[in-house]
């Protein structure tokens, strides 16, 4: 009889412990539910939005980043293998405009500017960036083409070209045909030095 009573007391203690543990667990659940009430205050993660337009912006940023990286790769290879000074980088017109994307109002939240930093580790300074304008026909180019022949043109992915020259010049003009399959560089003659 005494043993049975002792067993009953033991079981009662177990149930009391379980009950207290359950109450504490319920309190934990209650604290989590209370968070729901405070949700607007504590919810510091990005707010839900719609992907429309973000997709386009990301597309532009992605293409800009791709162009930046391809250009960086091109410059690295040129300086490694050609050894010459890069005069001009050519980027398709639609992508050239992406090389500097000002994104400080992007989605109303972020502040960042896509610059050409991906290129800097390779060359330290920015090369001149040109685009395909003006696009001339072969015949038109032929009229302007100077008998120079000392430039080196290499084509890279995404329609990026590098133009290296052993006589760096700021006065180079760049032309291509409508299919962008060829590139011509016209070096303007340097103005004669005037006598002191």
């Amino acid at each position: 009889m005494a043993g049975r009573q002792s067993g009953t007391r033991g079981q009662s203690r177990v149930r009391a412990s379980v009950l207290v543990a359950w109450l504490l667990l319920a309190a934990c659940a209650g604290a989590l539910l209370w968070d729901l009430v405070r949700l607007p205050d504590m919810y510091a993660f990005p707010r839900p939005t719609r992907a429309i337009e973000i997709g386009d912006a990301a597309e532009d940023i992605g293409r800009a980043r791709a162009v930046n990286a391809v250009v960086g790769d091109a410059v690295q290879r040129e300086t490694e293998y050609v050894g010459g000074q890069i005069d001009v980088l050519l980027v398709p017109e639609d992508l050239a405009s992406l090389l500097d994307v000002d994104a400080d109002v992007f989605a109303g939240r972020e502040q960042a500017t896509l610059d050409r930093r991906l290129m800097r580790p390779f060359i330290g300074v920015m090369p001149k960036v040109g685009d395909y304008d003006p696009v001339l026909t072969r015949e038109q180019v032929a009229e302007f083409r100077a008998p120079d022949g000392e430039h080196v043109v290499h084509r890279y992915p995404l329609g990026v070209y590098t133009v290296a020259h052993d006589r760096p010049s700021d006065s180079a003009s760049v032309y291509t045909d409508p299919t962008h399959s060829e590139v011509w560089i016209i070096f303007e003659p340097s103005p004669p030095e005037s006598a002191p």
Binding site: A21, L25, L32, L33, P46, A51, D56, G62, A112
Partner: protein, 517 residues
Amino acid sequence: MSDSPAAVASLGAAYTLTTLGLGWVVLFPLRQRLGIVGYHLASYPTGLLAWPVVACVSSLVGQPFGVETVFFGVLPYLFFGLLFARSLAPVSKSGGESVWPRESRAVASYVIWGVGICGIAAVVQGTGATAVGYDSVFHYAAWGSWLDLTGKIGAEIAGAYGALIPSAIAASRVFGVGWLASPWPILALHVVAIVGVGVREATRGLARVWRIAIPAITVALMVASAPFLAHSIYLHSHMISAAYLALALMALRHAFVPIQPPFAEDAVFAWCFVAGVATAGLALARPDGLAYALVPLAVAVVARLHGPRPARTLTAFLVPLLAFLGLFYGTAFLETRGWGGDKLTAKTAAAVIVALAIVGIAGAFLDRIPHAGPWLASRRHALLAATVLNAVALIGLFLVRTEELRATTTIMFGNLTEHGGYGSLWVVAAAMIVLSVAWARVWRPDTWSLLLLFAIGQFFAVAVVVHGLGHPGRLSPADSFARVAFHVVPLVFWYGGSIAAGLTRAWHESRDAEEGR
């Protein structure tokens, strides 16, 4: 390409169905061992891992993403995936009974799961429901575009963002999806299902009302928490990492701690394969995912010893894990000739992969060490030894790098309790864990509950090392650790549900004992 919501929804559904289908195909030989729930839950995450393989093929052949590269990238994924999965599923004479249902029910399961997952994708893509931050746009989406346009992995993807998300985005662009938003809510659904099923298994033997109420309440509380809601649509690595970690743990539970013993030996290999694939997903979702791969790996080593299961079961875990990691980081190394950076360099990646391989291989032979081996394999000694080993390693690290680790842990604590956007979640979790240990005699945790607790502890141990040796962080919801802590939240709720089940069982057993039943 039309931009109408219906067209966008269709493209999203087509991409999702392809991803899911790839997972279905690779896991098909294992379906009889995984069962209907396990097979479908593992398929979509497994299919997502096809896209890093496509990225590797794309990089190796020097071509941008396109229909051809996707096709030829998917082929080796399917070939080697099927080859290995088939080798694990000989349906041996001693392999036990199939748990795959009869044909009509199986076909219905494909239809229901496929329509459900693709339906979510269509709704999410069609409505454009998403949440974005700086990383979403300027890194993940941008590097996805870069991978698509150039076919190059590059130092940024390999060293700073991981293979999984950029390659998944690049592949989605081949399908014409503009802004990929569907994997996040789909994987959130997977997390809900994994935790729900896991807690329901913990309620085994209880009355029906408890078997419904405890998993339902646990999952409802998890879904209602602010970080879970946010990461369900936030284009970042966190819901993806959380889903792969939860899937890996679910697979290890079925492999090594059988719910209904005796267990078919073939099933152990099948589940180990799923655990290895899920751990690869965890490792490739973020650069520090490589370090967190130690969490499922440590649980696998400890749980195998507890089994005990044959050493070769760990092979089924390690092969897919190391194959994915070796393929991706090997390809990245070939392409970049080694990369640097301030997150994951080529040398660090190689060192961590080798370390994971050593832990896995050594873990397979621990029980053969004279004297210590049998001790480790008996009772819960392996769990105790692993916990002590973690504690010693952390104390040693604190002694060597006192200042860095003090700063890091202070910031980690501040983010978990006040600044990280978690509300009272981690305070509640800590209180729950402390009480569960103090009152272990009342609710009598089973081995799996202890392994869950070990996994949570191992996660934080890795986090202290990763952040202590790197950047200490900042007090903000945007801090890296503040976000990474979300990965283990599903395991915390799983553990909480197991406590509730244990308490309910203790209550009923006590009442029955008193009534003399």
